[in-house]
Symmetry: C2
Subunit: 214 residues, 2 copies
Amino acid sequence: MAKTVSPLRTSKATIDRLPLYFRTLRLAQDEGIDIISSEELGRRLGITPEQIRKDLASFGQFGKKGVGYYVNELKRNVGEILGLNRHWNIAIVGIGHLGVALANYQNFVSLGFNLVALFDQDPNVIGQRVNHVKVEDSKQLARIVEERHIQIGIIAVPAAFAQEVADELVAAGLRGIWNFAPVKLEVPASVRLVNEDLSIGLSSLSYHLTHAEG
Amino acid sequence: MAKTVSPLRTSKATIDRLPLYFRTLRLAQDEGIDIISSEELGRRLGITPEQIRKDLASFGQFGKKGVGYYVNELKRNVGEILGLNRHWNIAIVGIGHLGVALANYQNFVSLGFNLVALFDQDPNVIGQRVNHVKVEDSKQLARIVEERHIQIGIIAVPAAFAQEVADELVAAGLRGIWNFAPVKLEVPASVRLVNEDLSIGLSSLSYHLTHAEG
DNA sequence: TAGATTGTTAATCGATTAACAATC
DNA sequence: TAGATTGTTAATCGATTAACAATC
């Protein structure tokens, strides 16, 4: 029975690969595979087996030498490391096209995230239901965040309003923010901030195409 | 007059920061700022001035010692490096909630990307207009990609169909793919692939909240 | 000129890769 | 046992930070 340890310092790169391992293990599980080697995991992900073993080993000893990793056990352990067994309550602020898309994103549910609130300031949007969740007036944000024990807030408002929304979320006692607005947000160190700037991906594509060929 | 050079090998980290510089320079321009120092740029972005100077210097000498960087000039140069002056033609495949959100994403336009085609296979969606662009039948993909000189394809279909779509895009002569489906896609080395896996961001948030406190 | 700020070289830090002993 | 595969240590590689000469 492997024990999950919480290392003092794990690289960001390692942490960003864990969700990929989790996803692949889930697929392997669906295929009825019992045991998987780092070699095979690496083949499926395009990551070297050494890298995978190193990443996993930083959290504990999950494999069996000469055998490989038990898929069920490893998936459970990786899920535990990621905190995906916790059922985080999340809220989305800004129910424009992106907010609607995120509210309907099925993968969140399958990762154990509960969408418990939606907020917007547009009277035409307030009161509507998106994926069975009612859109509330942003003015109710502080009250509802507290009442529904929301830990993670997703910011999907225009850049100009993002900091304001972040401030309200922080004041309401939120612990993590996932920001889709292309601005640098200022939040206290106690609040975890992850930025998802979509223009970076497309710009990087543009860069590589430009420098690959005329 | 600074000259943009194309370095043989620039780090991925540097390239991912360039769009941030571009964005900040555009804002500075809007504010009417003529000259900006690496110090001030760094303050606005949360990046060290040394890092910024190093990144920029790998493409040429854009600044004036003792003075700083001319905002207009630097913005133009960074835009040129990123290939944002090229007006890439892009298509979105899969017009679900995410596809609709991406089709309406204003930042793409402001970065010089032209949305020229939308594809879906659902007869109820085909023929509709999203952000003034008509949704075409996926069966027409090869023909339209060629006709409209589309260079970049955005995959917003469910994971199960993503590889199939990627294959079609590649066969149609596409040069870059921006993939939102949570799967590892196989494409030839000549085609540039950028993955945007939204579950990574949220999982990493979950990880950090889990390991920060009980 | 004196003060400021870049561009670049050297030093440090961190992450990946290679190698291999341990062991199932 | 022999073959396979993990976990870990050492070696390499790459990226960031520090320092400073060049120069506006």
